[in-house]
């Protein structure tokens, strides 16, 4: 028997072009498989391309050969080489009448061409013809190609035929026609907008496969416009109900769940329809409750449905009983050994936490386990959850964790994301300014090149402006701590450029402000930075400007400035720099060193980075000069208009002064001479209120920051922070009340003691009671979740008890799948089925569906969906009488069981060896020792 089967299979494969392909192709596959390096593989493929190029040009290539060449082309393109020289042959093959060749042609063009390719025009006609074919397989092949090859312009060419096919007698064709229409809708919604009612009609198709396929476009349509589909809520609910009641043909069962993929799609749709809609939420609540009871949580697919239910419940209006059921399902997920389920559990928790924030608390240890799991995916998901549940009481722990993780990974993409999250959380919830600066330092140090430059500007502004409104003492303390931390960090090798810019700026502004550090010490450090990062001009620019400020402050305070030799050489080097910006800065610095204290103080005032600058548009500071000139005999200035005698009453004066119309050379009017002001000592160095070059010095940066304050997205939310920052009296009455309001976990379920401790001293209040749980972990849990200690330990003990119980029940249940594992509904949880059923039973949901279908579909006749399904069920079983299939298909209960028994029987390996031998006979040596089978399939 086994032998017969093998022979049958060989025959079948031969005729399908399996092993029937020529030795050449097998050799190609084999040699590529054995290639030791990418270069060797490339060489083989290139020679293959040469061969194919030659062969394809030969006249009268037999069709069979041609088909193989096309497959070879597809193969080499999959390996990443250009096969465009053969595209035209693939296009030609679609014109062939032979089904096999046509399908091969379509396969190749769908893989080769994009919808805007020039060759598509040659295919459209063929597609049109094939859509009209009597052979439904030809139609299917054409529909397949449509999905990939038709663009917006060619949709009208095939649209009428596709619409016609929606009523084709074969369900396979109807299914694909719906999908093609859906594809059109995605590509160009306007082209099919008048056909959308077809999707509604097809929802009532008597084939469940077609109905299931219709859910895909409907899902898209509903997510675009929920309100036009509210009328379908009850029909979706009744379909879901029928599916769960196993009214569909047996063939749709999968691992003993009835049509799970359809259930999932329906739940997704219901989630969309039910969000924010009380009525719809109520309609679906009963079936959701039923699902929780019916789902077999021992299989993967059962859990998929459970997860989808949780998602749906988190979207619709909250229903306490359903929430309870969802929370229960989540706790099962989290306690599972499977990482996949834990992942789903964390995800579900993240969704539910928005609705009922206290749900996280009972799972705190599970969450922490996930956080410490070696699985990166799980870890990231958990960080996402933590990010969602951050509040001022746990921000320190969470951000610390995030930063530790950020340091440990190499993936720049995720590093950027987590860095920006850290910054966001720190800005939003920072308990103290010292902590904030510390966190920012860490973020900059480890991910400096990845964070947005605005974050750096924000930090500089924060240090400059301080936190408290009039608490200068705190501000200077903060600055000192920033300076100290930067001086420590500055000698670390390879700091990110952005961080160095911040460091240089802060050291320049505040390095000597406190008097703790001498100017020469700071300037030495700054020189070191400029030397160490000599290739980075921005950093050098910042460093030089910082030097300038340091010296300016020194001069202004009347001390004598000793320029360190290394600074001197740095300046000289920069004077000859290729960068004009650096040159400019160096010259300015040199000029500044030669000035006296008063002038310097005017140029660079102390700690004035945040002062607003006033632009003197009238240039009034020149008045004295003008007065002098007039007194010594010069003519007063007359504007051009006055000179030309054109006294127009235009609003010329209100225009901006430097806006010169392009057609003529004009000069703005100066102010009329006023009584003279005594001229200043060095007029040429008086700060010109339009500093054009150095973008970093005081005035420009403050203006840029001012403008950023309005425009930037990443900015400090100072409004909520002011109350907390800068006030050491954190637990004062006002601040304490505000924090407790923010902590949502201390409301109903816990005593007031929990509220008090949650914000003030969560760590110390906790006393470990369970010795088997790592106290470290418990402390972490306490600081993360901040609940009261007594309730936490209670929950922990109950959870651990649950764990052991689950271990005994679940382990044996997972392996033999045909044993129907009874779903054990927790007795107290899901009593919502019965009472609600009695209330709703007065109206028949199927009657409702009937009415709906009558109104939406004119073809009538088909009314009761489940009746139709039960009709089709016997048909489905009778048609599948293929010899190979029938052997396998009777394992309808548990497919997995059949495979397992096969693997254990033994002919499995024998078959593999036979297959191996077969290949060897063909002159092909398999690449690996033995074509390893899917031993672990389903096992």
């Amino acid at each position: 028997m086994e032998q017969l089967k093998t022979i049958g299979r060989e025959l079948a494969m031969g005729s399908q072009g399996g092993f029937g392909q020529s030795k050449e192709f097998l050799d190609l596959v084999k040699s590529i498989g054995e290639a030791r390096s990418k270069a060797e593989e490339d060489r083989i493929v290139l020679s293959e391309i040469d061969i194919l190029k030659r062969r394809l040009l030969e006249p009268d290539v037999p069709k069979r050969k041609m088909k193989e060449y096309i497959i070879r082309l597809v193969y080499i393109e999959m390996l990443g080489h250009d096969a465009s020289f053969g595209y035209i042959h693939a296009v030609k093959m679609t014109h062939d009448d032979n089904l096999l060749l046509k399908r091969t042609g379509y396969l190749a063009v769908t893989l080769f061409l994009n919808e805007d390719h020039d060759l598509i025009i040659l295919i459209v006609n063929t597609i049109q013809k094939d859509l009209r074919s009597d052979n439904y397989l030809v139609v299917c092949a054409a529909l397949n190609a449509i999905c990939r090859l038709i663009n917006e312009e060619t949709i009208p060419a095939v649209l009428p035929q596709v619409v016609e096919l929606l009523n084709h007698q074969k369900e396979a064709v109807r299914k694909k026609a719906i999908m093609a229409l859906h594809r059109f809708h995605r590509k160009s919604p306007s082209s099919v907008s008048h056909l959308i009612s077809n999707f509604r009609k097809r929802l009532c198709d008597n084939d469940p496969g077609v109905m299931g396929a219709t859910l895909c476009p409907l899902f898209d349509l509903i997510s675009e416009d929920v309100n036009s589909y509210k009328d379908l809520v009850s029909s979706f609910v009744s379909i879901l109900k029928q599916v769960t009641e196993r009214r569909l043909p047996k063939s749709y069962d999968y691992h003993s769940m009835p049509a799970p993929f359809i259930q999932i799609k329906l739940l997704k749709i219901l989630a969309l329809l039910g969000s924010g809609d009380k009525n719809a939420s109520e309609i679906m609540s009963m079936v959701l409750g039923d699902l929780f009871r019916k789902c077999d949580s021992s299989t993967n697919i059962g859990n998929a449905i459970l997860y989808e239910c949780i998602r749906c419940i988190s979207c619709i209006l909250p229903n306490p009983k359903l929430l309870e059921a969802a929370a229960d399902a989540i706790s099962k997920f989290l306690k599972s050994d499977s990482h996949n389920l834990k992942y789903m559990g964390i995800d579900g928790l993240g969704r539910l936490i928005k609705i009922s924030p206290d749900i996280a608390e009972q799972h705190q240890l599970a969450v922490i386990d996930c956080l410490e799991d070696p699985d990166d995916t799980l870890k990231r998901k958990t960080f996402e959850l933590l990010y969602k549940m951050t509040k001022s009481s746990n921000v320190e722990v969470i951000v610390d964790r995030m930063i530790d993780y950020m340091i440990s990974i190499n993936d720049n993409h995720y590093k950027t994301e987590i860095a920006s999250r850290c910054v966001e959380l720190a800005e939003q919830f920072a308990p103290s300014n010292q902590w904030f600066i510390q966190i920012m330092n860490k973020v900059f140090e480890h991910a400096g090149d990845l964070v947005n430059i605005k974050v750096a500007h924000n930090l500089m502004r924060l240090i400059a402006e301080g936190f408290g409104e009039d608490d200068d003492d705190a501000d200077s303390k903060l600055r000192l701590s920033a300076v100290e931390s930067y001086l420590q960090l500055i000698s670390e090798p390879k700091l990110p450029s952005l961080f160095l810019q911040v460091i240089s700026w802060v050291l320049g502004e505040y390095g000597t402000a406190d008097g703790k550090y001498s100017a020469s010490y700071i300037s030495g450090k700054l020189c070191d930075v400029a030397d160490a990062y000599s290739s980075d001009e921005t950093v050098k620019g910042y460093a030089v400007s910082a030097l300038m400020k340091i010296y300016a402050f020194e001069i202004a305070s009347g001390r004598k400035v000793d320029v360190l030799p290394e600074c001197q050489s740095l300046i000289e080097e920069l004077l000859a720099s290729h960068s004009t910006d650096l040159q400019q800065r160096a010259y300015e610095l040199q000029a500044l060193l030669a000035l006296d204290a008063r002038a310097v103080e005017t140029i660079i005032p102390l700690d004035a980075s945040c002062e607003d600058i006033e632009v003197d548009k009238e240039l009034s500071f020149l008045n004295g000069y003008i007065q002098q000139a007039i007194e010594s005999g010069s003519q007063p200035y007359i504007s051009e208009r006055e000179r030309l005698g054109m006294f127009e009453t235009t609003d010329y004066h209100s225009q901006d002064h430097h806006e010169v119309p392009s057609h003529a050379l004009r000069f703005e009017a100066y102010e009329l001479p006023k009584p003279s002001v005594p001229p200043q000592a060095s007029t040429e160095l008086v700060p010109v209120p339009e500093p054009s070059y150095y973008s970093e010095s005081h005035q420009p940066i403050s203006t840029s920051l001012v403008s950023e304050r309005e425009s930037s997205e990443i900015k400090l939310r100072l409004d909520g922070v002011k109350q907390k920052w800068g006030r050491p009296s954190y637990q004062s009455t006002t601040s304490a009340s505000s924090t407790t309001q923010q902590a949502p976990n201390g409301t109903t379920s816990h005593s007031d003691a929990g509220v008090g401790s949650s914000s003030s001293k969560p760590r110390s209040s906790y006393e470990p009671k369970k010795p088997e749980i790592d106290p470290e972990k418990q402390r972490l849990a306490a600081s993360l979740f901040g609940g009261s200690s007594s309730s936490r330990t209670d929950k922990k003990s109950s959870s651990s008890g649950h764990k052991s119980a689950k271990g005994t029940v679940n382990k044996p249940a997972t392996i033999p799948k045909e044993i129907p594992t009874p779903v054990q509904p927790p007795p107290d949880l899901l009593d919502l089925g019965e009472p609600t059923a009695t209330t709703i039973s007065t109206m028949d949901p199927f009657k409702e569906l009937e009415g709906l279908m009558d109104s939406s579909s004119q073809d009538g006749g088909s009314t009761d969906v489940m009746g139709l399904y039960s009709d089709t069920a016997p048909v489905a079983t009778t048609t599948s009488v293929d010899s190979l299939l029938s052997e396998l298909s009777d394992s309808s209960k548990g497919n997995s069981h059949t495979y397992q028994s096969q693997t254990s029987k033994g002919p499995n390996t024998k078959e593999a060896l036979e297959k191996d031998a077969l290949v060897r006979q063909m002159g092909v040596n398999p690449t690996s020792q033995n074509p390893t089978l899917f031993k672990d399939l389903l096992g």
């Binding site: 399908q16 919808e115 999905c147 063939s251 996949n340």
Partner: protein
């Protein structure tokens, strides 16, 4: 929507790759390499899910399953359920297993067009079309039968039929 289906062996050689939005060949290769480098660095006994925004853009998830020498990979967006996608891989593998009775890597390499036929019955234009493995089998068998009918007379190469006669 499903963005891509890939099969690759444990050495990173692609065995089948299908992208449901057009990608130039170079981009495809880049993605396949990227996916493989992520997969090969995953330890045993961890979850089968990955978030790979870095390769496929915002809100991209990936589900993979490792069978003997092959990785089966599905890439999709937020409108699909991860666990369900994992089972879709299972459906695909079950179907292939029925097709080839005990499928192995060689089957996939040598039956390239049939692989695509099976896949096209399950995923169509990026949407899940059919999830009943029996239905898929029925469709594929019908195609094969018709192909064989139109094919057997003219196309079976002499050398192979002679060899099979033994």
């Amino acid at each position: 929507m499903i963005k891509a289906v890939m099969m690759m062996n444990t050495q990173g050689k692609p065995r089948l790759a299908k992208f449901y939005d057009y990608m130039p060949v170079e981009k495809q290769q880049e993605l396949i390499r990227g996916v493989f480098s992520v997969l090969s660095s995953r330890p045993e006994n961890v979850s089968n899910f990955l978030e790979i925004d870095s390769l496929f853009g915002v809100d991209s998830r990936l589900v993979y399953k490792h069978y003997a020498t092959l990785y089966f990979v599905l890439v999709f967006d937020g409108s699909e359920n991860e666990l369900a996608m994992l089972d879709l891989i299972q459906v695909l593998v079950e179907t292939l297993d029925k097709c080839f009775s005990n499928v192995c890597e060689l089957d996939i390499v040598f039956n390239y067009s049939k692989m695509h036929a099976v896949l096209d019955e399950i995923v169509f234009g990026g949407q899940v079309l059919e999830t009943s493995s029996a239905e898929v089998m029925k469709a594929v068998e019908e195609i094969s039968k018709l192909e064989a009918a139109s094919n057997s007379i003219s196309l079976v190469p002499k050398s192979v039929s002679g060899w099979r006669g033994r």
